[in-house]
């Protein structure tokens, strides 16, 4: 199979890159391991703001539908329930439907592989009933499955607070928020105060000492500053933050830098979102952990850059659009994340890790 643009990942960034390229007449293929497009947006019931100026604020799953609607207007080849498992010697991507593997030769690749949640390890953290906050959210909103009845949340980020509220909304009793730091990390204070108003205790400077249970979690010991308390729970949601998913970049031989504000190891890229490999671009959380607005913008920038490379748009036009999108990104994105991103751009020519396959 041949295509102009292969987009790995059909979440918000991959979809916005697909819209930019397909709308200019390029032959675009999206591969995603899920059975539907939209990525994590599908289980996000919270209102997303700020979004790029072309979108009014809306809920996550509504944004997914809107992006998918736009894609349908163009001729985009969808490989859903497919995964990229490696690359052939001639540079073709090897894509599997879990039965066979077939090569896809692309002129340009945009990797929008997203982020993976990190766990918070404590003794017996692998027991059933202990999961990341994203997993709990997916069970509730996408699969309509109750992940438990009595829960604690480990972490107090915006995402953790949001998930705690969603757990309460479906009738799960949230017994405590446990935070290692001395205060809540959420930037949107009203979410934390809404939880407090509902009588949910926040335990600061605290952590889970151990989980116990017969075949699944039944009890946890929480180490508070001056005592250890035991709670009966059947659900522990942990927020260890997120990190870019890098496997495909490794296989492609891209170079990497380390930027704490972007989630740790991140592929190197320049202002066109081109990686250390000139035929490979990236977008979304893979380019640094951010919020939905910036994810869409990076997808648009990557899509415009690839369109320019494949001569579907003039360099002058591409530059003008890119400039405007970067400006908007600067306004939309969290200040710390954005300054990390700018630092990361500056390190493009001096990556920490390159040629990892050359002995």
């Amino acid at each position: 199979m041949k295509t102009d643009v292969l987009i790995i990942g059909g979440g918000p960034a991959g979809l916005s890159a697909a819209i930019e390229t397909a709308s200019r007449g390029l032959d675009v293929t999206i591969v995603d391991e899920a059975s539907q497009l939209g990525g994590q947006l599908n289980q996000q019931t919270q209102v997303l703001r700020p979004l790029p100026s072309v979108y009014e604020p809306m809920r996550g799953f509504e944004l997914a539908n809107k992006l998918i609607e736009q894609i349908k207007g163009f001729n985009v080849r969808l490989l859903l329930n497919h995964r990229v498992v490696g690359f052939y010697a001639d540079g073709s991507a090897g894509i599997t439907d879990e039965e066979n593997v077939f090569p896809v030769k692309a002129k340009k690749i945009i990797v929008a592989s997203g982020a993976a949640e990190k766990a918070v390890a404590f003794p017996k953290w692998t027991m059933p009933g202990i999961m990341t906050i994203g997993a709990a959210q997916t069970l509730i909103n996408r699969d309509f499955v109750m992940p438990g009845k009595e829960a604690v949340i480990v972490g107090s980020s915006d995402f953790a607070m949001e998930t705690a509220i969603q757990l309460m909304d479906v009738g799960i009793r949230v017994k405590a928020i446990i935070e290692k730091q001395s205060g809540a990390l959420a930037k949107e204070q009203e979410k934390a105060s809404e939880l407090s108003k509902n009588g949910i205790p926040f335990y600061f400077n605290s952590f889970i000492k151990e989980a116990r249970g017969n075949g699944q979690v039944e009890q946890i010991d929480i180490e508070l500053p001056d005592e250890v308390i035991t709670l009966s729970v059947d659900l522990v949601c942990m927020d260890g933050g997120r990190a870019p998913i890098l496997d495909v970049f490794y296989q492609l031989g891209c170079s990497f830098g380390f930027q704490e504000e972007l989630g740790g190891w991140v592929p190197q890229y320049n202002h066109t979102l081109q990686t250390g490999r000139e035929d490979v671009y990236l977008a979304g959380n893979a380019a640094g952990i951010s919020t939905q607005g910036p994810l869409l913008l990076t997808g648009m920038i990557a899509g415009i850059s690839v369109s320019e490379e494949l001569q579907a748009i003039s360099p002058a036009e591409a530059n003008e659009m890119r400039e405007a999108l970067w400006k908007e990104l600067g306004l939309l994105e969290d200040k710390e994340v954005y300054s990390g991103r700018i630092k990361h751009l500056e390190n493009f020519t001096s990556p920490l890790l390159k040629d990892q396959f050359i002995s």
Binding site: V85, G86, F87, Y88, A89, G94, V101, P103, Q251, G253, F357, I358, S359
Partner: protein, 357 residues
Amino acid sequence: METNYETIVIGGGVVGSGIAYHLSERYKEGVLVLDKKYPMSGTSGSTQAWVWVHNKTPSWYAEFSMYSAELYPYLSKKIGDVEYKRTGGLSPFFNESDREKAQKLAESYRKIGIKIKVLSREEVLEKEPYMNPEVAGATYSSIDGNVNPFRLIDMYMRAAKRNGVRYSTYNRVTEIRQVNGKYLVVSDKGAFECKNLILAGGTWSREIGDMLGVKIPVNQLRGQILVSEPLKPFLNFTISGLRQANNGEVLMGYSMEEAGFNRATTLDVIQETANMAVRYVPGLRKAKIVRAFSGIRAMPEDGFPILGNVPGYENLYVAATHSGVTLSPLIGTLITELIMDGETSIPIDRYSLSRFG
């Protein structure tokens, strides 16, 4: 760090660390091992680690490998458990026409005392029930086996360090000079002086030899290996192409490519490897692959080890070989004898660098 040593070993892989350990058993002078990265980050950490004797040709090379394999049980007693398992080795064939070749191989080995059986289909399936029933037969040798390469090199290093050997890692050698009858080894972290210099740079042997104007004709061969999820123990033998590790993972690989120092994996070879594995053991079709990796192996131009003194250079030794895991106990022993006693307990003239002219 001390800059003056009696002996320096360049390369801390299975060959270099093996030499350093064996030397440290008898040798009380200072020994330094220099490694460009860290032991196991090169060939020694990317191998199926067979301890493999049979179907090495010609038979004198198999004999050499056998002596080394026989040292393994004693090595474990000395340095600790390296998960050496003498499983026996099976080399299956699928065409009846290959049986005659196998018989000839077995015959030539019999002359030097290596017992190799040529098995019928029934015998193969009795030994290895999960083998493809379409197998025509296999050559079988009881001395073959495998080892955990990470434990092996780690134990070599620990034992060597206990005996006073120093290691300097992430330290690339950039230049070697002869000064007043000694060697000056210039590295990223400073210069070191020594009387005896041992070149055990594996895949980089040619590059290290060049620093002294010595031609060490070693090339690079890439091998790609697949790793399955941990499966119940079901493979009894080391099969030429795959083996099951202690934790149940099956390692599969038999590929050889010329790719210089490029350690990437490619789907082309991964698919061939998977097909090979499924042809040998059809049940593997159901197993999940968790990982693929590749390793660069050293391969001397004629395939045989390069061992011993470097002709025309005082106190300069070379140890560069394919099958370093199989040969390391023997090479460590022989190079130690050469340095300590000036002669070796089994002749190694055949393996001299001088054969390349």
